[in-house]
């Protein structure tokens, strides 16, 4: 029976236009891209049918860049210019990287983030990651036959502000509009939960190539609420490879290896690890560049014993997350395994023992994160009309400020639901003090020196007063991506200082601009063309958003004069976009954005009232 279709009042019945959006799992070892097609989340393959893109970038002699399998094939041969696991260096300084002696790269200890010297010049982990993202973007646009409106990119839940910012910067370099940074375990929960229509409390145990995350979520009627998260951002499958590699060295009584051989043997160790997930023993046979023959046998039991301490290391964060969530083991309805490293049988046993139940593995642990990210991207792009999916995520690490004596005053505790804002008042220490320096840190420890330094800034122009008379209110706002901005204001005089935290470990705006420029041809004309293109993209995004808002709520919330004024500004901006005056487009975009502030406020108020107004169609009984 055909049903009559009725459009919402004020909305046109124009056919629904599907917007192209993807989910990207930017992994330590492998990366993937997925999208929702015909209501199904699907991983997109490359032209050879591969779903997984090895997260490997090689800078070649002819100046080109190889990404994925082609790069991976050369990693033993050309280890210094073939970067694997760049994710481990995102937002990290040289001193943060463990086992640096086993890594074959020429690291450059730059302030902020570590960089790597390659034959193509000095590269930041952000630029290296951008190469991987560009490759995935190209794959997606080819498969979907159009330009993407944006992407959801996943990050380990335990990533701090610096690492998240670095990921967002990489996307920007790759020319990707980030709809949201989504925590990997949350993405997995979305893919899993929607597939199984689950309700209750679930644990996501995510052991990837380089990071470990544990998240506890409550699933109920399409709402995914993260109750607690914890983890270790420097523990993953790579550590198991490395342990086996060291064991092989001991067994074979080998002298320290050169870099090519180190890479070669690490690869063999990884293959043996993977083999042992399905077999009882593995034979490792390899001829080194020194003609030395390595020939060792390792049993699954031996491998499990030598790496048991790594498995045990995952259980402490697990306990902490349970305690933070105020939960006991018997309240957990199910445990989902994510990440290739959870294929190891002794990891599965440890998880089963701890939670006293068999973990769920019916989705491919390598793909589940990308599949979930695609579902979220589809929702964010506005392709789903029914509001049946809502993610409420948390901040993984506490945010605080340095106070007297190098101590940390926590302002936002870990596991607060995002978005979150918190204000804290401070006062001056000396009579007549006119400036105050504010140091923002992230972490759980009591001493500033044990936490990660995110930013330092100064509030100047405090009117001279007696000590303790000034009232300085510092407000932390963390958005839905988990990124922080800080505002400080002297209460009695209203002196204000605002910064969007660009962590000490992140890149400055100038550095990004420079990279954007150099990633293209540096001819002046190209720079201008690119700036114009960026301005137009931004303007078009605003035009589309405003037009949709007016179509939806213009009748209800605007009088004729207000509506006409906005439409005129939109039209003016449209006509500027066909020209080539970059500055004029920028200005008109800003003006339209500013002048629509009142409309945005009315729409928000309307949303609030609508949410809790008594009756709606769904609740009517027929």
């Amino acid at each position: 029976m055909a049903l009559l279709q009725i459009a919402e009042p004020g909305m046109s019945a124009a056919p629904h236009q599907h917007k192209l959006a993807v989910g990207i799992d930017l992994g330590t070892t492998n990366s993937l891209v997925a999208t929702v097609r015909s209501g199904m989340s699907t991983v997109l393959h490359d032209e050879h049918g591969h779903a997984l893109l090895p997260s490997v970038v090689r800078y070649l002699e002819d100046g080109t860049v190889a990404v994925g399998h082609a790069a991976q094939a050369k990693q033993s041969e050309d280890p210094k210019n073939t970067i694997v696991s760049a994710k481990r260096f995102m937002g990290r300084g040289l001193k943060d990287i463990p086992d640096i002696t086993h890594i074959p790269y020429r690291f450059v200890d730059t302030p902020g983030m570590v960089q790597i010297d390659t034959r193509a010049g000095i590269k930041s982990p952000v630029e290296i990651s951008a190469e991987i993202l560009k490759s995935l973007k190209a794959r997606a646009e080819k498969a979907l036959g159009g330009e993407l409106i944006g992407a959801v990119i996943t990050v380990p839940a335990y990533f701090d502000d610096a690492q998240r910012q670095a990921t967002k910067d990489a996307a920007r370099l790759a020319g990707i509009n980030v709809l949201r940074l989504l925590n990997e375990p949350t993405a997995a929960a979305v893919a899993y939960g929607l597939d199984n229509a689950s309700e209750g409390i679930y644990v996501i145990y995510d052991l990837g190539g380089g990071t470990f995350d544990i998240s506890i979520l409550r699933l109920s009627k399409g709402v995914f609420e993260v109750l607690a998260t914890n983890g270790d951002s420097a523990l993953g499958g790579d550590d198991f490879d490395h342990r086996l590699f060291c064991w092989i060295l001991e067994q074979s009584k080998l002298p320290p290896l050169n870099q090519e051989d180190t890479r070669l043997l690490l690869t063999k160790a990884r293959e043996a690890k993977e083999w042992l997930s399905e077999n009882v023993e593995a034979q490792i046979t390899v001829v080194l560049s020194t003609k030395a023959l390595v020939n060792v046998k390792v049993t699954a039991t031996q491998f499990a014993e030598m790496t048991q301490h790594l498995v045990n290391k995952t259980l402490n964060p697990t306990r902490k997350a349970l305690r933070d969530g105020g939960l006991a083991i018997d309240e957990i309805k199910g445990v989902v395994l994510v990440g290739g490293a959870t294929r190891m049988p002794h990891v599965r046993h440890a998880v089963a023992d701890f939670f006293q139940q068999e973990p769920l593995t019916n989705l491919d642990p390598d793909k589940v994160v990308a599949l979930g990210a695609a579902i979220q991207a589809n929702v964010l792009a506005g392709n789903r009309s029914e509001d049946d999916l809502l993610l409420l995520d948390v901040i993984p690490l506490s945010l605080g400020l340095e106070t007297m004596g190098g101590l940390v005053e926590k302002v936002i505790p870990r596991n607060s639901t995002l978005p979150v804002a918190r204000a804290q008042d401070f006062t001056t220490f000396k009579d007549g003090q006119t400036a105050m320096s504010i140091h923002v840190v992230q972490g759980e420890r009591e001493l500033v020196s044990d936490c990660r330094s995110l930013a330092r800034f100064e509030l100047r122009g405090i009117p001279p007063m007696a000590a303790s008379a000034a009232r300085i209110r510092v407000t932390f706002q963390v958005d839905a991506d988990g990124l922080l901005s800080v505002t400080a204001r002297e209460q009695t005089s209203g002196v204000e200082s605002h910064i969007v935290v660009k962590p000490s470990y992140g890149l400055s705006e100038d550095e990004i601009t420079e990279m954007l420029k150099s990633s293209f041809n540096s001819a002046e004309a190209d720079k201008k063309a690119r700036a114009l293109r960026e301005a137009i993209v931004e303007a078009e995004r605003l035009i589309e958003a405003m037009s949709a808002a007016i179509q939806q709520d213009g009748e209800k919330l605007l009088n004729d004069i207000e509506k006409q004024a906005l439409i005129d500004e939109i039209d003016a901006l449209k006509s500027l976009c066909v020209g080539n005056d970059t500055d004029a487009i920028h200005n008109a975009t800003e003006v339209l954005n500013k002048n629509s502030e009142f409309f945005a406020a009315r729409r928000m108020d309307a949303s609030v009232s609508k949410a809790l107004s008594g009756q709606n169609l769904q609740s009517l009984e027929f």
Partner: protein, 173 residues
């Protein structure tokens, strides 16, 4: 938009709240205002959605947590609980507190996680009791001064609980 937490979540200003209504209204509100609903909207709308969504989170978590809810009710009534400055407590309460602290320190020294867990559960039981007292101080026979004193006691117990949790954390690492 400045509304108090109870108004925002459409709940009467009472300590005893309808948990189910709180959960439902919170979810309904976030479903409308969360930044995920505005991912492709104009920068103005994204900013405002973040601010309102932040406010809804703040309201929900304040009202969900019993002691935060009690403090907030007193704040609305213009009563300062003086938790920072007024530490005067009945002598027997202070004695009792010292005993708990000693027990916690002993357990910590001997690395006895089970004993700490037991103590933590005892504290959680006490917190429940105090919350019942607050409930009658605020809803049944309103006495805000008594409520403020009970909240100060609650702060002491919560502080001990947090310290015990930290001890357990440290021992487990």
């Amino acid at each position: 938009m400045q509304q108090n937490h109870f108004d925002l979540l459409k709940l009467p200003v009472r300590y005893h709240i309808d948990q189910q209504a709180l959960e439902q209204n919170y979810r309904k509100l976030q479903a409308e205002v969360h930044p995920d609903r505005f991912a492709t909207a104009s920068p103005q709308e994204r900013l405002q959605s973040m601010q309102i969504s932040t406010q809804v989170n703040e309201a929900y978590h304040t009202l969900k947590n019993p002691s935060a809810r009690a403090r907030y009710m007193l704040l609305l009534a213009g009563i300062d609980t003086l938790e920072e400055s007024n530490t005067a407590m009945p002598a027997d309460f202070l004695m009792q507190q010292m005993e708990w602290r000693e027990a916690a320190d002993d357990a910590k020294m001997s690395g006895d996680i089970d004993a700490l867990d037991k103590l933590l559960n005892e504290m959680r039981g006490l917190i429940k009791q105090l919350e019942n007292t607050i409930s009658s101080n605020l809803d049944d026979n309103p006495d805000y001064e008594m409520a403020a004193l009970t909240i100060r006691k609650l702060s002491f117990i919560e502080k001990i609980s947090t310290d015990i949790e930290h001890m357990i954390d440290k021992l487990e690492n």
